[in-house]
């Protein structure tokens, strides 16, 4: 089992965000996390990589107890995990190339040739080879997102955590990115957890999906099962109709 999350709780003061979240993801599986804005999807991902500490619960990745590791062990584990931030989080004082090289130079013992070939490979994958020497401030939002994606996969992680990889992209690029994520998963045998609102993206990527609402997982299954569900929350999520969902969500 790649990932096991058990009874995760997280509150900010009186704001209960995660209220007992548990799920498992097996090796080389792509799991999608749905949920309305503000339900704690980003918080969930950040807890998994220990950018945030949950109040209680367990997280195990590759059989390691994430919350119990010391800093050195944690950094070792983080080398195997890629994280795409919702806002890309590119280092704005570095060029695109330096952004991409940064994790490689710092943590991996690679020669220059290997580094260059990886930089070229990931830039080609996101079709942005010509942006190599640009600064992040010269890129559009969508381009930044793609560079962010390139940076997170350049270390060939075993587990990828994507926080809304296609949000803010045009439909064509969004589709391309989804296909890319799916291909990478097969090519590199990666396991992925993808937070998204994008149904098409989910359809392309997901082996399985969970739905987060009010701090709990309210539904789990294949995309087809979820879209066919008669649950009002899911219907609202996946169809064009607006359906009254009293008391649910925020």
């Amino acid at each position: 089992m790649m990932v096991e999350v058990n009874e995760l709780h997280k509150s900010f003061n009186s704001n209960v965000v995660l209220d007992g979240v548990s799920f498992k993801v097996s090796d080389a599986e792509n799991m999608v996390v749905f949920g309305r804005s503000g339900t704690g999807k980003s918080v969930l991902l950040k807890c998994m990589i220990r950018l945030m500490l949950p109040d209680s619960g367990n997280i195990s990745i590759q059989g390691k107890d994430v919350l119990g590791l010391n800093i050195k062990e944690l950094n070792e584990l983080r080398k195997d995990i890629g994280f795409l931030f919702q806002g890309s989080a590119l280092y704005d004082s570095m060029t695109v190339k330096e952004n991409l090289e940064f994790p490689l130079i710092r943590n991996f013992d690679l020669d220059e040739k290997e580094i260059n070939s990886r930089v070229n490979f990931v830039l080609e994958a996101v079709s942005l080879l010509d942006a190599m020497n640009k600064m992040p401030s010269e890129l559009s939002g969508g381009m930044r997102k793609r560079i962010g994606l390139a940076r997170s996969i350049i270390t060939k992680p075993k587990l990828m955590l994507y926080d809304e990889p296609t949000t803010g992209l045009d439909p064509i690029t969004a589709k391309e990115i989804s296909v890319l994520i799916n291909e990478l998963q097969h090519a590199l045998k990666m396991t992925s957890i993808v937070v998204t609102h994008d149904l098409l993206c989910a359809k392309i990527i997901a082996d399985r999906a969970i739905v987060l609402d009010s701090g709990k997982i309210v539904k789990e299954g294949s995309i087809n099962e979820l879209t066919a569900s008669s649950d009002p929350l899911l219907k609202n999520f996946f169809s064009d109709e607006i359906i009254e969902t009293s008391g649910r969500g925020k």
Binding site: L51, D92, R106, N107
Partner: protein
């Protein structure tokens, strides 16, 4: 805030015991910060030197002590005015810059991204900057002292006929080790304060862009205040270590 700042300082001292050191980054920041402040501290130093000499000149004349003009100007610049003015300008320029830079890195999750990629952001971003400010400020201060003395010389020449060589000789004669050494040494502390406060405010920034602005302005206020408070303490300490009246 004081506890947060102290904890931040403690973490800094913990980190510097373990290599590797980001020498390239430290050098890069030193050059950048030095270049950024060189013009403004130069101009200020020149004017301060000029003005202080203009002010002292009639006063000393009143007591019939014009001959002490170079010496007294030199001592005030070396002991107090050079170091403190340079530090305050440095605080205004650099502390705010570091606060804003790290603050925006924090709120746009760049610091988180660094942490996730297995790089210790505290070492890479904070330690390097504090090192740079600590070691660049004394250099800037020596430069400011020199420029101020030139400014003062110009004011002196306007009222007394004196060659540069004679003026400098008078200054060097008057300024003792007990003036110069503590004067320059305390700027290491000031530089440390500027880096520490700026980095702390930026690194712990919250609430998006608004937080970045706050981090930047409060860095200047806090570091300037701390510089003046430390100056008071250090002056007292200096007078105790090197009594001026024997």
């Amino acid at each position: 805030m004081i506890t947060g700042l102290s904890r931040f300082a403690v973490q800094f001292f913990k980190e510097i015991f373990f290599p590797p050191y980001e020498v390239d980054q430290i050098r890069k920041h030193m050059i950048e910060l030095g270049m950024k402040t060189l013009p403004i501290v130069g101009v200020t130093g020149f004017i301060i030197g000029l003005v202080i000499a203009m002010q002292l000149s009639p006063v000393l004349k009143r007591f019939g002590a014009e001959a002490f003009l170079p010496g007294s100007v030199g001592i005030s610049i070396v002991r107090e005015l050079g170091p403190v003015i340079c530090a305050l300008i440095f605080a205004g320029r650099v502390s705010s810059g570091i606060g804003a830079e790290l603050g925006s890195m924090r709120v746009t999750e760049q610091i988180d991204a660094m942490e996730v990629s297995g790089v210790n952001p505290f070492r890479y971003l904070v330690v390097t900057r504090i090192f740079a400010t600590t070691f660049i400020l004394p250099i800037l201060t020596i430069y400011v002292i020199f420029i101020s003395l030139i400014g003062a010389y110009i004011a002196v020449v306007l009222v007394q006929n004196m060659t540069w060589a004679y003026y400098l000789d008078r200054v060097i004669f008057a300024v003792e080790f007990g003036d110069a050494f503590p004067g320059v040494t305390k700027t290491f502390f000031f530089g440390f304060i500027v880096g520490l406060v700026g980095a702390y405010k930026g690194y712990t920034a919250v609430n998006g862009t608004e937080g970045v602005g706050k981090a930047s302005t409060s860095s200047v206020v806090v570091s300037s205040l701390l510089i003046l408070i430390f100056d008071m303490v250090l002056v007292k300490l200096t007078l105790w270590l090197w009594p001026t009246v024997k």
